[in-house]
């Protein structure tokens, strides 16, 4: 469909402003000098044009409300509608981030309650809610780790161990904070190679980054031993909370020996991710790391909650204001809706759904690891007939109304399809999905072109990604 710019007709307008009785100010010479030359190339449209344009765009997009979205590692669960309404309460929506604290006691209370809830869920002692996304939380954590070692006179600790199965953000965050990421291999069971890990531990190691369950959906059962060895070596244990949805009410990072962690509000706590964001990546730490949290932190006095800026060891601010408040608010509403037993059931159902899918698929597809999975699992689309690849299966799934699973991640499994059903799907949905995947296997045998030419019912057919990158056209 046409770009909005192509729909422009000079003279149309969708904008109104009250007529003003404020006198027009003569432009200052400074402004005169900087005055924009020419009119910016923006569309001129009436309100109906804009409404139809975006309505049509929306109909060319798939969300959780449109159907099953088992995108592994992204935890595409249902986004409760009440949370959207709560975030639109004017008292929240129009609170200014620079208002004096006494004006914002409601917003501060939301943040305070959320910190408490996150501590309870994770076993951490303190949280900062500033980081705007998961990767941002990782980066914040890396800054904290750096500050911690510096304060101990351990500034030479510049190595961060990262399993090869880790999300790409882990090594990237470590590097961005000035660390050297060191890969740790996985063993045949899909878990961290303990021996290699131990062999890498020395007094240059700042931390180990780990997600547990890992990106294969497998629980790192040696976690206590790992934690001990890392701590003995003077390193810190960092928990990538991307997979927190698997463990609420079951185990806590704080109890597994992790020193700090981030979590993803938009994954585990059901806040909409809106086509790529916003998210929120709060960082939790144990007591001894609390001095390094970004300033300000929330304090409580007789006069109420306040921002405490007197934080000499803080790593500094990581965002302009207080983090993605609107996202955090929804996370708190979600937690309150479920309560403790509800969150535990969330994780249990996520695990049950994943194991059910895994059990039903393992007769048809190759499941590389034999143990029960947690909230997600990986199948490997190798040795399929007619050179069918994971991507073909993914694209063919689209024809049946599904968003495909994550493909080609984690990198350690060939032709990986990473499936995370989440707890917000029921058995009937999973059964239909299994049936579809089985049918696709038959098609792969009998009508492979159905797969290689898929998808068939989408507004566009398979797009040429190479062409896009070869001669980038990035704007109208």
């Amino acid at each position: 469909m046409s770009l909005i710019f192509e729909k422009s007709v000079p003279g149309k307008t969708a904008w109104t402003l009250p007529s003003s009785d404020v006198p027009a100010a003569p432009l200052d010479t400074a402004v005169e000098k900087q005055l924009r030359q020419g009119t910016p190339r923006m569309p001129e449209l009436a309100e109906i044009d804009i409404v139809r344009h975006y309505t049509e765009l929306s109909r060319r997009n798939h969300g959780v409300d449109s159907g099953f979205y088992p995108l592994g590692s992204c935890t595409m669960k249902y986004n409760p509608k009440i949370n959207e309404d709560i975030a639109e309460i004017p008292g929240f929506q129009w609170a200014h981030p620079m208002s004096p604290d006494s004006f914002c006691q409601g917003s501060l209370r939301v943040l305070y309650e959320l910190e408490q809830a996150f501590c309870a869920i994770t076993g951490m002692d303190y949280f900062t809610l500033q980081p705007a996304a998961g990767a941002h939380g990782e980066l914040t954590a890396m800054f904290i780790i750096k500050a911690y070692h510096r304060q101990r006179g351990d500034s030479h600790r510049l190595k961060v161990l990262v399993p090869t199965s880790a999300h790409g953000t882990n090594p990237a965050s470590a590097a961005m904070a000035g660390f050297e990421p060191i890969p740790v291999q996985c063993n045949a069971q899909g878990l961290v190679d303990y021996d290699q890990l131990v062999s890498l531990l020395d007094d240059h190691v700042a931390a180990l980054m780990l997600t547990n369950p890992n990106t294969l959906g497998l629980f790192e059962k040696e976690i206590s031993a790992i934690a001990n060895r890392v701590h003995q070596a003077g390193g810190l244990l960092y928990y990538d909370g991307a997979n927190l949805n698997a463990i609420m009410g079951i185990v806590r990072p704080g109890d597994m020996g992790f020193d700090l962690m981030h979590l993803n509000a938009h994954k585990t706590f059901a806040t909409p991710h809106g086509g790529g964001g916003p998210g929120a990546g709060p960082v939790g730490v144990k007591e001894y790391l609390q001095p390094f949290l970004p300033a300000p932190v929330l304090g409580e006095s007789a006069a109420g909650l306040f921002w405490d800026w007197d934080r000499p060891q803080a790593i500094g601010k990581v965002v302009g204001f207080h983090g993605n408040f609107g996202v955090l608010l929804k996370a708190l509403a979600y937690i309150k809706a479920l309560g403790g037993p509800g969150l535990q059931q969330v994780s249990q159902d996520a695990i049950l759904n994943a194991n059910y899918l895994r059990a039903r698929l393992q007769s048809s597809y190759s499941v590389p690891y034999s143990q029960f999975c947690m909230h997600e699992f990986v199948i490997s689309a190798t040795n399929l007939p007619n050179h069918i690849r994971a991507l073909d299966i993914a694209k063919r799934l689209i024809d049946f109304g599904y968003h495909p699973p994550t493909v080609y991640f984690p990198l350690i499994v060939a032709e990986a399809l990473m499936i995370e059903p989440t707890e917000t799907e029921d058995q009937a949905t999973l059964d239909q999905f299994v049936q579809t995947l089985q049918q696709i296997l038959i098609e792969a045998e009998q009508h492979p072109e159905l797969l290689t030419s898929a998808p068939h019912h989408t507004p566009v057919s398979r797009v040429d990604e190479t062409r896009a990158a070869r001669s980038p056209k990035l704007h109208w």
């Binding site: 770009l3 307008t13 904008w15 402003l17 009250p18 009785d21 100010a25 400074a30 005055l35 030359q37 923006m42 001129e44 309100e47 109909r59 060319r60 997009n61 969300g63 959780v64 995108l71 409760p80 008292g91 200014h96 917003s107 209370r109 941002h136 990782e138 750096k146 999300h167 990237a172 990421p181 206590s224 806590r252 991710h273 086509g275 790529g276 964001g277 601010k317 965002v319 302009g320 204001f321 609107g326 809706a337 403790g340 509800g342 535990q344 249990q348 759904n353 059990a359 039903r360 689209i398 058995q427 030419s453 507004p459 566009v460 057919s461 797009v463 062409r467 990035l474 704007h475 109208w476």
Partner: protein
């Protein structure tokens, strides 16, 4: 357990365990060491019904004091948001989607972001805009990192006229990196040309100019950029995007990286987030720019389509060699900004900027008559600092009791300015409202 968010029934759970071949759920946790398992329930309040949630959060919201009139800006601005922005951005196909990894199923969001990039590219005057970053300050930090890598120099010059949180976030990102951050003092409220000239050297990787600056004042942007370029450093411009309805695109004045806070483009204040980090860069930074990029391409049938592109920069491909660790961005906020800019159109954008300018200048003149002179005698845009005879903090509390938030106490950033108030007037105010503010200030000031 039955809950509206949990569609599995106990019957289904039972049947599924049977299919898996275990007798109870605990068997699925075989790999989770017993001693690690939580022995008691999570220490959280009981589950609340939707009615309780709604009531409870309304009560919390009422604990916030919302003034009738607020002249507080300082990095977050109350502009009018047309109704269509929310109606359209709230289409669930948009807000319940993830990053558009599967382009065939995501053409809606991909095209919307491509259009967003087009707007930002046009407004900023640079060829490559990304799909958004977290917020303005983090966008600036990423910009500085890019400039450091590109120039392989090791020093950054930051005028004191940058908003404090810009300086703070850049400091956080560069701490321990070995990069030297030099803060340029600006006692007159602007970055003086001569002083920048003296401070520039061959070590400088970037100079950041916020325009209008932390005091709402217009910097001499062209000359500052020119000086920076002459020194081989990267000129980075930081903008409030709505001012670009009147002001020239910084890219056309020579800035090589333009960043800014996109909140004014149709986002509510929401106590500071989610906001919208804007970034556009010149060609030479195209493969260094952090964040997602949407590019145009063709599908197998030759139809124009859109796709995430140049992903080789990104963490999920390049891991530790990525240009940035960024993964999530603020796509939904970018969508809102695109809708907002579509509503404005070129004339609306100009009108909003002009009205902000007019309102601010009328208000400054009236406040001056009421006994509150400008703190800096400099040209400003829509924000300005005034001198108050009482401490600004006191004044704020007095006016708040009358339903007015008069602005920001500049003493919060600089104790020397504790008798200064930063006042912002956007397009939302009528003359009557501005006059009421002046009257109340005269009464109480």
């Amino acid at each position: 357990m039955n809950h509206p968010y949990l569609p599995l029934t106990d019957g289904q759970r039972r049947a599924m365990l049977d299919t898996i071949g275990v007798s109870d759920f605990a068997e699925l946790l075989a790999e989770v060491p017993e001693e690690l398992r939580l022995k008691k329930p999570l220490d959280l309040p009981a589950s609340q019904s939707e009615l309780e949630l709604s009531t409870g959060f309304h009560q919390l919201a009422e604990m916030n004091v919302l003034p009738e009139l607020s002249f507080l800006g300082a990095g977050a601005y109350q502009h009018y948001i047309p109704a269509v922005v929310n109606h359209l951005a709230k289409r669930s196909e948009f807000y319940t989607a993830y990053t558009p990894y599967q382009p065939e199923l995501s053409q809606g969001m991909l095209q919307a972001i491509f259009e967003f990039q087009s707007y930002i590219s046009e407004l900023f005057g640079l060829p490559v805009a990304n799909a958004s970053l977290y917020d303005g300050p983090t966008a600036l930090a990423e910009a500085v990192l890019m400039a450091l890598k590109e120039t392989r120099r090791n020093q950054v010059l930051l005028p004191e006229t940058l908003h404090p949180s810009l300086i703070e976030v850049v400091r956080t990102y560069l701490r321990d990196s070995g990069v030297e951050i030099i803060i340029l003092p600006c006692p007159a409220g602007v970055q003086e040309i001569e002083h920048l000239a003296k401070s520039l050297s061959e070590e400088c990787a970037a100079v950041v100019i916020q325009n209008p600056n932390r005091y709402g004042i217009l910097e001499d942007l062209s000359r500052l950029i020119e000086l920076t370029r002459q020194a081989g450093a990267v000129p980075i411009s930081y903008v409030q995007p709505l001012t670009l309805g009147l002001l020239e695109a910084p890219g056309r004045l020579g800035a090589e990286i333009v960043v800014g806070e996109g909140q004014p483009l149709g986002l509510p204040l929401s106590y500071g987030g989610p906001y919208l980090g804007l970034m556009a860069v010149s060609e030479r930074f195209m493969r260094r720019i952090p964040g997602r990029l949407v590019g145009e391409t063709l599908d197998r049938d030759g139809r124009i389509s859109y796709v995430l592109t140049l992903q080789a920069r990104e963490q999920h491909i390049r891991r530790e060699k990525a240009t940035s660790n960024i993964c999530s961005n603020q796509a939904l906020c970018a969508l809102r900004a695109a809708i907002y800019l579509g509503v404005l159109g070129p004339k609306g954008l100009h009108q909003v900027a002009q009205r902000c300018y007019d309102n601010a200048h009328y208000l400054a003149a009236e406040l001056n008559k009421a006994g509150f002179p400008l703190r800096f005698e400099q040209p400003f845009f829509m924000e300005f600092a005034i001198h108050t005879s009482r401490p600004a903090a006191d004044l704020i509390h007095s006016l708040a009791a009358r339903g007015i938030m008069p602005g920001l106490d500049l003493g919060r950033f600089d104790p020397a300015l504790d008798h200064s108030l930063l006042v912002c007037a956007t397009e939302i105010f009528s003359k009557t409202q501005l006059d009421r503010f002046c009257t109340e200030m005269r009464d109480l000031g």
